[in-house]
């Protein structure tokens, strides 16, 4: 067992400046994860060769892998750094920001595109009336709940997009995250009233047709969401939507 923890961190001072690498070393302590280790580095931001530098910038929030904020590349794999335990990682631990989102600073990226795409695809459920509509809450069968609940576990971390060969900084593809949320909202008893709108959004630019079925998304999803099942199901919904659009009026 080594008595230190070594890091190699890709740093970038501003969105437009070029990235560079720095190495850090901190004393070993059992139970460290990447976030707690980054906090130690932040206390004394000195590189391995003794240079005092600006503290490393990263985002984190929940510390229990449910907010997605601390997602980054750890030894080349996309992970949440709060749940990435140091004891499980080869050293030096290489930290990089996600490559498919614009870097804000160091390990912090701008994931706003995902929220914009949620808006574009109307991936929400309208309330069924802000007044008394004399009806109880819509019912969902146990079977349906079993099938769809897992899609609500999405933490908008961006892992599925990071590994997608069709998702790129310079294109419009919305990716598995959005398709899964459209699937979830289209199955909801109230949400399904807006199904056609969501499907039409996915039939537009950057929609489901851009998917190349490489299926990396489902391999890396930290919440184990069956993303490719959503892609298949929404693909079927879109096929029927095309038939309705072309022959239904």
């Amino acid at each position: 067992m080594t008595n230190t923890i070594r890091f190699k961190i890709k740093r970038q001072d501003s969105p437009d400046s070029s990235p560079y690498w720095q190495e850090f070393e901190i004393p070993y302590k059992a139970g460290h994860n990447v976030v707690s280790a980054l906090m130690v580095i932040r206390e004394t931001p000195v590189t391995r060769d003794g240079k005092k530098v600006k503290p490393v910038v990263w985002e984190c929030n929940c510390m229990e892998e449910v907010c997605g904020a601390c997602t980054m590349l750890i030894n080349g794999e996309v992970k949440q750094s709060c749940s990435a335990l140091i004891d499980d990682l080869d050293q030096p631990i290489v930290l990089e920001p996600m490559s498919k989102f614009p870097v804000v600073r160091d390990l912090m990226v701008d994931r706003n595109r995902m929220f914009e795409n949620l808006k574009k695809s109307k991936a929400w459920v309208d309330i069924d009336g802000s007044w008394d509509i004399h009806e109880g809450a819509p019912r969902i069968s146990q079977e349906e709940w079993d099938r769809t609940y897992i899609f609500s576990r999405c933490i908008t971390c961006g892992s599925c997009l990071e590994v997608c060969p069709q998702f790129d900084k310079d294109n419009d593809f919305m990716g598995a995250q959005i398709i899964a949320q459209v699937y979830l909202k289209n199955t909801h008893p109230t949400g399904k009233f807006k199904s056609a709108d969501r499907l039409h959004a996915l039939m537009g630019k950057g929609g489901i047709a851009e998917c190349g079925n490489a299926q990396n998304c489902v391999e890396v999803c930290p919440k184990e969401i069956p993303l490719t099942t959503a892609i298949g199901d929404v693909g079927r919904q879109v096929t029927f939507q095309v038939l309705k659009d072309w022959f239904g009026k």
Binding site: Q166, D168, H200, A201, G204, N213, Q237
Partner: protein, 205 residues
């Protein structure tokens, strides 16, 4: 209600459909017809005459083969351009299939371009006779033989694996189990088609 302002969805689905109908069906017919070569030159040449004397042949060829090939090939190149392979970071089976589908597609664009020229267009323009004997002479060159063997195997793969992704795109196979079964089926089809194609090729030697 939201209207669709962009045609990429239409082209992408058209590309997907054309790969199966008519191009996939044509591959099945083509491999099957070529297999008559195993029964000798007379039988094979009879089939050539049958196809060459079909009414409206040129229309059939243009509408059901030439135009679909062009659209599928050119839009396919565009699809290759929109992707960024990442096998080194993400070495999953399906991700490899994603890459192989694109690589075979690009090679086949060259192969089919060459094949259409040598065995159809040059015959049409210069009155060269297409027959068992012509294939026999062409395949005497080891370079041509191995090039055609490669083309046959790659087209078998590209078609079979294309059925796999077609089934997801159009919503036929949704869950992972169905997709896995379709994976076995399509790889089985790949092997069978490749064997049929290569046997036909050998029959001309």
């Amino acid at each position: 209600m939201e209207t669709i302002k962009d045609n990429s969805f239409f082209y992408r689905r058209l590309h997907s459909l054309l790969g199966i109908i008519p191009l996939g069906l044509f591959i099945l017919e083509h491999f099957f017809t070529n297999s008559f070569a195993m029964q000798g030159s007379t039988v094979f040449n009879d089939k050539i005459v049958f196809f060459a004397t079909l009414p409206y042949l040129i229309v059939i060829e243009i509408v059901f083969i030439f135009i679909p090939l062009l659209i599928h090939g050119i839009y396919g190149l565009y699809i290759v351009y929109t992707g960024q392979a990442n096998q080194i970071q993400q070495s999953y089976y399906r991700n490899w299939m994603y890459l192989i589908q694109r690589v075979t597609g690009v090679i086949l664009l060259f192969y089919i371009g060459w094949h259409v020229w040598t065995t159809r267009l040059s015959a049409l323009f210069y009155g060269k006779e297409v027959s068992f004997d012509m294939m026999h002479k062409m395949l005497a060159s080891p370079l041509v033989f191995w090039w055609m063997l490669l083309g046959v195997v790659l087209v078998a793969f590209h078609f079979a694996n294309g059925i796999w992704s077609f089934s997801i795109v159009w919503g036929i196979t949704i869950g992972p189990k169905a997709q896995k079964r379709m994976g076995y089926f399509t790889m089985g089809l790949f092997v069978i088609l490749a064997v049929v194609g290569v046997r036909a090729l050998y029959a001309f030697l």
